[in-house]
Amino acid sequence: MYEFLKNLDRRWIFLLILLAVAIPILGEWQFPEKPSPMVQSVFDAIENLPAGSDIWMAYDYDPGSQGELHPMALAFTRQCAFKRHKMYFMTLWPQGPPMIQKNIELLIKEFPDLEYGVDYVNLGYRPGYEGPIKLAVIDLRKTIAADVDGKSLDDLPMTRDFKNIQEVDLIVNVSAGYPGTKEWVLYASTSYNIPTVAGCTGVQAPYLYPYVPQQLDGLLGAIKGAAEYEFLLLEAYPSLRENPKAQEALRRMGPQLLAHLVLIGLIVAGNVIYFVGRSRGDV
């Protein structure tokens, strides 16, 4: 056994992980969540704004990180729609537009009474990394003159009088890396004191923690953050319970549990091998 583990082929580890993720998905495991204070503060930041506030939805992610971020982006969109906030969607990622499109489709389907151009607008992709942020906080029209379909901002009711991002009540950023939360914090939230909340991938969260709570009002970390968020949303808007799509992240927590346990088992096994090896004088 020791010899087998010591020269373990990585592929056995890979198989274990595959099973740990596949079984809960096939078995459709789901657990209730306990929202942490951090998630609660993000939720409150949107929930406590008066209905009809302007929210800048900066969705900077792509299909690659969809698995981690899409559920929370949809949760943000749903919450803003329930609160009747005005949503300005924009992305700094070249592959972001299809992600925004999915949010727009959600609004069309689940909130048919909201109207494009009045309650939400899709400003599409802006190239230039942090450049568009810096321009849009001063003068939106310097970087965006039309929505995603080429309609001039002056022809849309909600953007007609909109000068710059300083006017919004909250920036909601979902980010998978650069450009993303850090850039929004540096060039919008810090420079102009615009309240900002963010949702990010697991890998980014630890490094964004230092910006909370001064520069960021709250931070959702990956799928667990999203699951807790969905839980809060379900509590606040029970009509969502009928909608399985609003529980995407909650469903993703099943594989998490098993995979984390497998990983812990692997670390323990690794250490057992190490200590056995040391006592035998192998190391």
Partner: protein, 232 residues
């Protein structure tokens, strides 16, 4: 000449931009320079693309091992480029029903969209997903209690791993209120918002200093390795 002129250009541009940051009139110059860079980077695709084609063509013409794959790359590249630049299969939109050129290049239903949706996207997402496997093999191999420092690494990783699952929250219900902080999720929150915060902040401050001094070295011409060879 070949190195001095670019060095002067870099120095002047850099120092002007530093100063401009403090003058309302010129504050935006930095952003404008970034915008220009993006135009340049977009045009520089000609360099990258032509290099990619040349390399693969060479592999094919030399019949080097794996030249078949080079041919696949080349075909995939050229097909994507052509259907994208010509907007093949793009339908006009509601706003401009007679002008298909005005429609977005990645419109649902177009050829480029098909390539994106059914090849690019699954390939990208799956490559990213491989990390789930690699993170496990790395943890298995590297997280061994060799010395006190690695024990610290190991123990923290263990707590956070537990704290980020359903089990972490369960402990909160089991433990009495006075010991609630011992549950994995409370400890995770504490580690994240105290130790991790302090560590990340120290790293961040260090990096800011590193960036500042490296930038300065570039501007002063102390570090000029990016300029290549040539007479001064």
């Amino acid at each position: 000449m070949k190195r001095t002129v670019p060095m002067v250009i870099a120095a002047v541009t850099g120092f002007v931009l530093i100063v401009s940051y403090f003058i309302p009139l010129t504050e935006e110059w930095g952003s404008i320079a970034m915008q220009w860079f993006n135009v340049l980077a977009a045009i520089a695709f000609v360099l990258g693309g032509s290099n990619l084609m040349r390399m693969n063509l060479q592999k094919i013409s030399d019949r080097r091992p794996g030249w078949g794959y080079a041919a696949v790359t080349l075909i995939a590249f050229l097909v994507t480029l052509c259907v994208g630049l010509l907007k093949v299969g793009v339908q006009p939109t509601e706003s401009f029903p007679t002008n298909a050129w005005a429609a977005p290049y990645n419109q649902e239903g177009s050829f480029l969209w098909w390539l994106y949706e059914y090849m690019y996207k699954p390939l990208q997402a799956t490559m990213f997903a491989l990390l789930a496997f690699f993170i496990a093999s790395a943890a298995f191999r590297a997280f061994r209690a060799k010395n006190p420092e690695s024990i610290a690494l190991l123990a923290t990783a263990f707590i956070v791993l537990m704290g980020r699952t359903y089990v972490g929250g369960l402990m909160r219900d089991v433990l009495p209120a006075s010991l609630e902080w011992l549950s994995f999720d409370s400890m995770t929150n504490y580690i994240m918002s105290v130790f991790n915060l302090a560590g990340m902040r120290a790293i961040t401050i260090g990096i800011a200093l590193g960036v500042a001094s490296t930038s300065l070295k570039v501007l002063l011409g102390v570090d000029r390795s990016y300029l290549g060879a040539g007479d001064e």
